[in-house]
């Protein structure tokens, strides 16, 4: 479904993505797990066709994401950025309508998409309130719903639960699980093991732009040559080392 080969992205001297290779199957939830600064967001940027500074190839359903003019490829995915990428001066409904329109939904489709998005975010009661009056958790939920407004086959999620309360986190999780059960493909980045463990079938552990291992929990345990039954955290710390990460 999604195939990346020899993926590299550098910011000046620094290689943020260093020769990554992976394949993501249709309908799977694929995890990108790594400490801060590992290159998770940079990898998603390449996958979603942002920027033109990267090298290598990415194919989505057999079609190259580049050149960026290939709008059809873009229509097949949605991005939920790590930053809250919604307009604070507009209401939840207006944000969904605006991004839905740009994603290519016509007026008729938009109506249902907005209702679905509001339900997805659990914001039916606050649909016509401006986003700057929302709590962090509400904004996160809206951020997710906006990325999924056109219900793309593939959804890229960049740490969608950062800084939210347990209720919102749980809501987001249940939402993602239901999307997964619809057969949608999810690519999920996080630095929380338990999230990756709960949601993802296969996980790519990355650090400093490089892949340290890729597979199911069991496969990763084997790759790390740890006794079976080790937690994902053991595997992760074994692979990435125990020194502090400050970006």
């Amino acid at each position: 479904m999604i195939q990346a080969k020899q993926l590299c992205l550098s910011y000046g001297e620094r290689l943020a993505v260093d020769h990554l290779e992976f394949t993501i199957e249709q309908g799977e939830c694929f995890g990108l797990l790594g400490p801060n600064g590992a290159g998770k967001s940079s990898t998603l940027a390449c996958l979603s066709g942002l920027g033109d500074g990267w090298t290598g190839t990415i194919e989505v359903q057999g079609k190259a994401v580049r050149p960026a003019k290939e709008l059809a490829v873009r229509r097949s995915f949605g991005l939920v950025p790590q930053d809250l990428a919604v307009y604070e001066g507009m209401t939840a409904r207006e944000n969904l309508a605006f991004f839905g329109e740009l994603a290519g939904l016509n007026a008729g489709e938009r109506g249902t998409a907005i209702d679905r998005g509001l339900a997805l975010a659990g914001l039916e009661d606050r649909a016509d309130d401006r986003v700057d009056q929302f709590s962090g958790g509400m904004k996160r939920r809206l951020n997710l719903a906006v990325g999924d407004v056109h219900q793309p086959p593939v959804l890229f999620l960049d740490e969608p639960t950062v800084g939210v309360d347990p209720q919102s986190r749980n809501h987001i999780f249940e939402t993602l699980e239901s999307l997964a059960s619809e057969g949608r493909t999810l690519v999920y980045t996080t630095h929380y093991m338990e999230e990756a463990e709960r949601l993802c079938q296969r996980i790519l552990i990355m650090n400093e732009g490089k892949s340290l291992g890729c597979g199911t929990h069991e496969e990763l345990t084997a790759q790390a040559e740890l006794p079976s039954g080790s937690t994902l955290e053991d595997v992760f710390l074994h692979m990435t080392g125990r020194s502090l990460r400050d970006g």
Binding site: L50, G51, G53, A68, L71, R74, M90, F99, L102
Partner: protein
């Protein structure tokens, strides 16, 4: 989504956000309006005389040491001169605004730089006038104020002529003829003739007969239009639109910082739509802003916007297009909002100063280098376009306006192309 529909959707979003931000909107509209009002008003004050030419008046302090009926009549005539602003000011109720200074104080004030010009009407003024002798009048002046002292001299001589019904000129001439050894008979003859011919002297004073004058003005020009005020309104409008649209365009930077840019770039639309959308929304804001400013100019100063609304609209649109492209150029170039603000403030202030937004530079004889610099500013082409429209009563068919419109659109085109390049590098390249 396709290029144009996406740009329109993006522009609608920007406008919605713009009109919701009350504080920003008030600043965007009220600040320019108050500046136009203040500048227009001051320009009117400075130029006097219906604003036809800036600063054609000299301010002069008068010390009347004679305190005679005759000297007071003389000062009253001075006050009537259109060239002079006599101080202390005479108030409506006939009293003076300030205590008058004596001669010694006035001299000291000129030395101290507190006063540029003073006229001392000496003791014996009335006697001298009565006996047709040269009156004791002294102009005390700061030599740095050439233009004002010339004006003052003309005003004083005219008042003196009026006070004596021309006798002062006769006696001056008689004295000179006598010094030159002219026979007394001829002098008396001259006095005889000219005494009856005061009219003639007045004419000579105005230059009549020496220089023929004809009055012409563009017949279409609105009679109330004031040169200086039209200049002030046009000049400040251009400057404020530049500031306003740069602020609007740099919301691009905010979108990049806040993350919405990343989402926009991931959407199935050509990235150029983002730039075009920003151009459209800034142009709408700019058109509203500039129309408001000229409406204020019309209501307060009667700059004449109804003579040729089509030409005015085209000039406004060209100005707004150039300003919008300038804003986009700054927004695509800058790495941070601070950088954008600093650089744009610098460039806009320099362009406004050189381009005649603050003062009608084209009235001066500029060194070639400054002249070239002036022609490189948006302000110059826009302001001179508005002057051609209001003052010269030109329209779209005239070459002056065509040049302004052409250069402004050329500017808009070049700035947009450059902005697009920078946008590709700074926004798309590093997502």
């Amino acid at each position: 989504m396709n290029f144009f529909p996406a740009a329109v959707a993006l522009a609608r979003k920007d406008l919605r956000l713009f009109f919701r931000d009350r504080t920003g909107m008030l600043l965007g509209f009220l600040l320019p309006i108050s500046l136009v009002t203040i500048f227009g008003y001051l320009m009117g004050l400075m130029s006097g005389d219906g604003g036809s030419s800036p600063m054609a008046q000299a301010s002069i302090w008068v010390a009347d040491e004679d305190q005679s009926e005759s000297s007071q009549a003389f000062v009253a005539l001075l006050r009537e001169s259109p060239m002079l602003r006599v101080r202390p000011r005479l108030l409506e109720d006939g009293t003076l605004q300030d205590e008058p200074y004596d001669a010694a104080t006035l001299r000291q004030r000129v030395i101290d730089g507190d006063t540029d010009l003073a006229l001392i009407v000496g003791n014996g003024f009335a006697d001298a006038i009565a006996h047709s002798e040269l009156a004791p009048l002294t102009l005390v002046r700061d030599p740095g104020r050439q233009m004002e002292s010339q004006l003052a001299r003309i005003g004083v001589v005219q008042a003196l002529g009026e006070l004596t019904e021309g006798r002062v000129f006769t006696s001056m001439m008689a004295k000179q003829m006598r010094d030159a050894g002219t026979p007394e008979v001829m002098i008396q003859g001259m006095e005889q003739v000219s005494q009856d011919q005061y009219q003639m002297f007045q004419g000579v004073m105005q230059g009549e007969g020496l220089v023929a004058t004809e009055d012409h003005a563009p017949p279409e020009r609105d009679e109330d239009v004031s040169y200086a005020q039209a200049q002030a309104v046009g000049g400040i409008a251009v400057m404020m639109v530049l500031f306003g649209l740069t602020a609007a365009a740099t919301t691009l930077l905010r979108e990049r910082d806040e993350g919405t840019m990343r989402r926009l770039l991931s959407l199935p639309m050509p990235p150029g739509s983002i730039l075009l959308g920003k151009a459209l929304s800034t142009m709408v804001v700019g058109m509203i802003q500039i129309m408001l400013l000229f409406a204020v100019g019309e209501v307060l100063f009667g700059i004449g916007i109804w003579r040729d609304p089509l030409t005015l609209f085209v000039l406004m649109l060209s100005t707004v297009a150039a300003a919008s492209a300038f804003g986009l150029l700054i927004a695509s170039w800058a790495k941070t909002p601070k950088q954008a603000e600093g650089m744009s403030t610098l460039i806009i202030l320099v362009m406004s100063c050189l381009g005649g937004s603050w003062f009608p530079l084209q009235m001066l004889d500029l060194p070639a280098a400054i002249e070239v610099a002036m022609r490189m500013t948006i302000n110059h082409w826009s302001v001179s376009g508005f002057q051609d429209l209001f003052w010269k009563a030109q329209s779209l068919g005239d070459s002056g306006i065509q040049a302004s419109v052409g250069v402004l659109w050329l500017f808009a085109l070049l700035a947009s192309l450059l902005a697009h390049r920078l946008f590709r590098r700074n926004y798309l390249g590093r997502a």
